[in-house]
Amino acid sequence: MIDFAAIIAENILYLLLIIVGGLLVAIGVHFVPVGGAPAAMAQSTGVGTGTVQLAAGAGLTGLVAAGAVMQVTDNLLLVIASGMVGAMIMISSTMLLGNMIYIYGVGVPPASAKIKYDPITRDRQDLYISQGTEGHGVPTSCFISGVIGGGLGGLGGAMVYFALLSVTNGTSALNVIGLASIFSVAIFFINAVIASYNIGGTTEGFHDPKFKRLPKAVVSSIIVTFISGILSLITIGGL
């Protein structure tokens, strides 16, 4: 029989790291400008796809980047930083290409209908909104918000991966790598969907009124990550 208490006591630090990582993913999703289906038709601000797809694209790139760097170094900070940068690059290129399509393909200027002035550039927004839409494209503040969100998501994903990989266990390294990566992907997706439920599917970034709902996602994320963290910890530690 597996001794649950001993495994948890031995790896309590990693459990904390997993919870913080999951929490960062949930917070990061709130920053990403997700437009959903309306944005795909350039009728609302943000990139035209769902939260989970955007977060997964950025977060999984972060995980891959972290995994690649982990092969050459075991320095925690370096691994986590590379995961963060990988996710930031991925989300930036997604938003940049999305913007190119909105500007040169659809022919709309990036603008947000939720605010009158862009909080970063102080540019007037409402003049550029097409009638009947809620904004279009990815304006500067949404872009910067997205980069922050991607960074937090990648940071969180890399932290979960590193923590699971470091759990004390009695099995081969290959098995642990497999388990740690699939568990971190699972924890990543659970937190991305929870955050997505909280914002109701679409957001513009930190200036969106929905951003004030963040505490609810924090509470939910801590509870769920705690449960899934313990389960994955015991699975890896008990082998």
């Binding site: 597996i2 959903g36 289906a37 769902g50 939260t51 989970v52 797809q53 997964a56 099995t171 081969s172 290959l174 098995n175 790598i177 497999g178 388990l179 990566s181 699939i182 568990f183 992907v185 699972a186 924890i187 990543f188 997706f189 659970i190 991305a192 969907v193 929870i194 997505s196 439920y197 909280n198 109701g200 599917g201 679409t202 709902r213 609810k216 996602a217 509470v219 939910s220 509870i223 769920v224 449960i227 899934s228 389960l231 994955s232 015991i234 699975t235 008990g238 082998l239």
Partner: protein
């Protein structure tokens, strides 16, 4: 906002409880039969695991259909990803501590995790979807059984050391993750709308389940031909039956089905 038109309770010709029983019993029988018959008679019978997974996929797709009809606002794919995310954690944990009762333990753990996430969604995040708690629990359970079923088929047994070395360590689990998620989310995602019908959606669930089976067959071909051939053949058979059924249902529900012919050539256009 609503993914499937106006928020409403989905009408079901087949009651949800019946599909739930079909999903749980079908997949558990498939998983256990796949496990024991493979041990007793060799890898030819390993296809039974993924046959059980198809039952779980149909159950999951029906639940996705019921919960997404209320319009969860985040798009249908998110719930499929959530199902498999919870499923991975519950399945591997359940198989490890459960031993021979592994699939049942995984099912129970998944139901508890799903219930907690559903409660958080409705009570803390105020999603306001009436069946959120039970639906999330059902989806988590269906996702778990899908993963256990497909993994049992790939490894030939649901014993944790077998699963870890034959499904997880060689990376097959990433494939199980994505084909399982898509099989659960795709049926409703491709049929949603005001004229969505339960039998048509479930026909696509069978089509997706058979594709999961075919992919499993292709994957295990590199490990064991004896287990790959029956999986592939039965998967193809189910696909043909399910797709024919789906096409006839599309013809029933559509106003008219017409052939557009091939793209016109340049001379014909000018």
């Amino acid at each position: 906002m609503a993914a499937g038109g106006t928020p409403k309770k989905a009408g079901s010709a087949i009651p949800p409880k019946k599909i739930m029983v079909f999903g749980i019993l079908g997949s558990l029988i498939g998983i256990y039969a796949g496990h024991f018959l493979t041990i007793m008679f060799g890898p030819v019978f390993s296809f039974l695991g993924v046959l059980g997974a198809i039952c779980a996929i149909v159950w999951g797709a029906d639940t996705v259909r019921r919960v997404c009809s209320y319009g969860i606002g985040t798009g249908v794919p998110s719930i499929g990803m959530l199902a498999i995310g919870m499923g991975i954690v519950a399945a591997l944990f359940g198989l490890e501590i459960g031993g021979i009762a592994g699939p049942v333990v995984a099912l129970v753990i998944a139901t508890i995790i799903g219930l907690i996430i559903g409660l958080l969604g409705n009570r803390i995040m105020k999603m306001g979807v009436p069946i959120m708690e039970t639906a999330t629990a059902e989806i988590a359970a269906a996702g778990t059984l899908t993963i256990v079923g497909v993994s049992t088929s790939m490894a030939g047994s649901f014993e944790i050391y077998n699963i870890v070395s034959h499904v997880v360590a060689n990376g097959f689990i990433a494939l199980v993750f994505i084909i399982g998620a898509i099989a659960i989310l795709h049926p409703f995602n491709s049929n949603l709308g005001p004229d969505e019908k339960q039998d048509r959606t479930l026909a696509v669930a069978f089509v997706d389940g058979s594709i999961v089976m075919i992919v499993t067959g292709i994957v295990v071909a590199g490990v064991s031909i004896a287990s790959a051939v029956p999986t592939l053949v039965i998967g193809l058979l189910i696909w043909i039956i399910a797709f024919t059924k789906y096409y006839s249902l599309v013809k029933r529900d559509a106003y008219k089905v017409v052939g557009t012919g091939l793209l016109p050539t340049e001379e014909e256009l000018s």
